[in-house]
């Protein structure tokens, strides 16, 4: 029975309460008259008090006072001085006593009723509070479940994306790692490594970088974005990418909050791609040299033939009855010159054939062109073509890999020579130019060959596109990837006259500009 208002005691309107009060007094009077006439007892006082108590209990203070007044009047009329409202002096004490008793009963009843009411009120309040509490609890439970679900999603998302989160209170050094963060570093989520233990696991080549970033934290920089290699306890290397920012607080107790991404797979794929690219570039280079092998052999053979013949001539000059030492000297001088020349050719070849990672250094583009031309010269002669070098003086240096650029130059020149193969009605001329414009250096290789169908122009640099019967279609595609990896661009256009021109542009000292 927790209902707030008991059904057995109606919250009656006041008129009903007063009616009940009158009725209860009348009932008590009737009972008293009946008891007086049949049993000759006179229980007026107790019956009237009962009726007042009932009225008080049912109706409260107002109706009980009405019942009291009514009972006193009736008591005086019927039982103190029969059939009259006048009171004999000796009866006054009885009437007063009755009245006082009645009032006492009324006040007791009213007090009891009031306390009961306040009790009921308090109980109702308590009940309401309890219900509110239950409702809050329910909401909290639901919220908790949602939070756990979100956390689970977050953990799963972190696991799938190999992204951990961390926060680091700079002042205290307290570090929090998300589960995935701990898993990535293979430290366990509960372990908070001190900074020196952390640094021990950083790849030694990246240590300076990481320490630099920590220094930035100390300086109070707002943003962090860097990559480093991490050695797991199991001994493997991971590539980690950190992005974090500083959450400032009024108290100066800044916190670094960020994400830690395991980008090993991306990096490894990138490295594998780079290695494959390097291998392909190298293979193409070797293939190009292979195509020119006869010319290159000639290039080495020529000075060797010179050396041998000079040596033999020198011996013959010495063997004469009067040795001609002047002739011997000049023969030996030519041998020295030719020996140097042969070794230069071999050196250039070795550089081109060597399988080495790219070395990005400032270099003179004109030198690269001249060296490439030296290797291709014979090939050009063999194709009855002429080479014209039109190189701008005082060309600013570019930052690039010498061997790869030479590969591009050689490739474009050999291409041009081959494009002129079918030409019989005009001079076969290959013109190589270099010049600077705006913030780049441009090299152009023009031929007087057969040109290309404009419809194929857009596919010219695509892999496996070739117009040659025995071509692989890799040369120009590799040229493009080399030039683009240097931040440059390469393009081709048909000449207004016969033939076409390939050009590439390299940015001037890109690292200075950035």
């Amino acid at each position: 029975m927790t209902t707030s208002s008991p059904a057995w005691r109606p919250q009656s309107p006041a008129i009903l309460a007063y009616a009940v009060a009158i009725l209860s007094v009348m009932t008590a009077l009737a009972a008293a008259l009946l008891l007086d006439s049949f049993l000759h007892t006179m229980p007026y006082v107790s019956l009237f008090l009962c009726s007042i108590m009932f009225a008080a209990w049912f109706g409260g203070l107002g109706p009980s006072l009405l019942a009291t007044v009514l009972a006193i009047l009736l008591f005086t009329y019927f039982f103190v001085d029969s059939d009259s409202f006048g009171i004999a002096p000796n009866d006054i004490p009885r009437v007063v006593l009755f009245g006082m008793t009645a009032l006492f009963v009324v006040s007791l009843s009213a007090a009891q009723r009031r306390s009961e009411q306040s009790l009921r009120h308090a109980r109702d309040q308590l009940q309401g509070a309890l219900q509110e509490q239950a409702r809050l609890n329910e909401a909290l439970r639901a919220e908790n479940a949602e939070r756990r679900r979100v956390q689970a999603y977050l953990d799963e998302a972190q696991r799938l994306s190999r992204t951990g989160t961390f926060s680091w209170k700079v002042a205290t050094g307290d570090v929090f790692w998300s589960t995935e963060g701990g898993r990535i570093m293979e430290l366990g989520s509960t372990v908070e490594p001190p900074i020196d233990v952390f640094l021990q696991r950083v790849h030694k080549d990246d240590l300076a970088l990481v320490q630099g970033e920590l220094e930035r934290v100390r300086r109070g920089e707002p943003e962090y974005d860097y990559e480093f290699r991490w050695l797991t306890p199991a001994g493997s290397t991971r590539h980690l990418h950190v992005r974090a920012h500083r959450v400032r607080s009024e108290s100066g107790d800044d916190e670094i909050v960020g994400a830690l991404m395991d980008v090993s797979e991306t990096r490894e794929a990138q490295e594998a791609l780079n290695a494959a690219q390097t291998a392909l570039t190298h293979a193409a280079r070797v293939a190009t040299l292979g195509e020119m092998s006869a010319s290159i052999a000639h290039e080495v053979n020529q000075p060797l033939a010179g050396i041998v013949t000079n040596g033999e001539a020198a011996l013959r000059w010495l063997d004469r009855s009067e040795p001609e030492l002047g002739e011997v000297r000049s023969a030996i001088e030519r041998m020295v010159r030719d020996g140097k020349r042969a070794s230069q050719v071999v050196e250039r070849l070795r550089a081109l054939v060597r399988k080495a990672p790219a070395q990005i250094l400032p270099l003179e583009l004109n030198e690269v062109i001249a060296e490439g031309a030296a290797l291709v010269r014979r090939e050009i002669h063999n194709h009855r073509a002429t080479l014209q070098l039109d190189l701008a003086r005082d060309l600013p240096p570019v930052v690039a890999d010498r061997v790869e650029l030479q590969q591009v130059v050689i490739n474009l020149m050999v291409n041009g020579v081959q494009a002129m193969e079918p030409v019989t009605d005009r001079p076969r001329r290959l013109v190589v130019r270099s010049f600077a414009q705006a913030d780049e250096v441009v090299v152009s290789v023009g031929d007087s060959g057969v040109g290309i169908d404009p419809a194929n122009m857009s596919r010219l640099f695509n892999a496996f596109f070739t117009t040659k019967a025995d071509g692989m279609g890799m040369g120009l595609s590799i040229c493009r990837s080399i030039i683009e990896s240097h931040g440059g661009r390469i393009w081709a256009s048909n000449n207004t006259g016969p033939g076409m021109t390939f050009q590439f542009a390299l940015p001037l000292r890109a690292e200075d500009a950035s």
């Binding site: 006869a294 052999a297 000639h298 053979n301 020529q302 000075p303 060797l304 033939a305 010179g306 050396i307 041998v308 013949t309 000079n310 033999e312 001539a313 020198a314 013959r316 000059w317 004469r320 001609e324 002739e327 000049s330 023969a331 030519r334 010159r337 030719d338 020349r341 014979r378 002669h381 063999n382 009855r384 002429t386």
Partner: protein, 220 residues
């Protein structure tokens, strides 16, 4: 005699070796080598330079790189043949030029040397080529001398010479020409003197090298 055309000068001039190679290493080394054995040498960087030079009076040979810029050694060989310049040619080749070597030899090259070559091989080849040129020049000279002498004969003397060298007796020749035998004898003696023939057999050989006897005359 003074009215007769001059025969070419005899090959008294020193033999010359011409070297045509666009590569200075080989060119200069060859120059030194040939000079060391006392040969006269002239060096050229291209076929065009060589063509500008006046033909030599003496014996000569050409040492030619088969791969020349602009015009190939083989084409150059063809140009020389067309221009009736019969200087013997020794080709130098790089590695793996066998098809070119075959073509060069078919076109009349004296020899073929792969770089780097032995000096003795080169000198032998040059000596052989110069000797060949020498002989060709001597044969040419002899033929020219003969032709000059023949041109100095009178028409009658030529007729007599043709008939007697074709194997006819003096009398038969006299009969054919309607001359007396004595007159034929005088013309024959005159022709033999002018031709510097020591005997009738000598005169017959001269008539053959002059091509006086066509096959049909032999058949008659």
């Amino acid at each position: 005699m003074s009215r007769a055309p001059q025969p070419p000068a005899t090959a008294k001039a020193e033999p010359i070796v011409f070297v045509v190679d666009d590569d200075p290493s080989v060119r200069e080394a060859l120059g030194s080598l040939f000079r060391s054995v006392g040969l006269q040498v002239e060096l050229f960087g291209s076929a065009a330079e060589f063509l500008q030079r006046k033909r030599p009076d003496g014996a000569s040979c050409l040492v030619l790189d088969i791969r020349l810029p602009g015009v190939s050694g083989l084409d150059f060989q063809g140009q020389l043949v067309k221009a009736n310049i019969r200087t013997p040619i020794i080709f130098m080749t790089g590695h793996g030029d066998i098809p070119m070597s075959v073509r060069a030899m078919k076109a009349g090259a004296v020899d073929f040397l792969a770089k780097p070559f032995r000096d003795q091989d080169m000198l032998d080849a040059v000596a052989a080529a110069i000797q060949r040129d020498q002989q060709a020049r001597e044969a040419e000279h002899a033929a020219a001398v003969l032709r000059t002498a023949y041109e100095s004969l009178t028409a009658r003397e030529r007729e007599v010479m043709a008939l007697v060298t074709s194997g006819l007796m003096n009398k038969q020749a006299a009969g054919q020409l309607g001359l007396s035998e004595i007159t034929v004898k005088i013309h024959r003696g005159q022709a033999m003197r002018k031709m510097k023939a020591k005997s009738l057999a000598d005169l017959v050989r001269m008539a053959e090298s002059l091509g006086l006897h066509q096959p049909k005359e032999h058949a008659s």
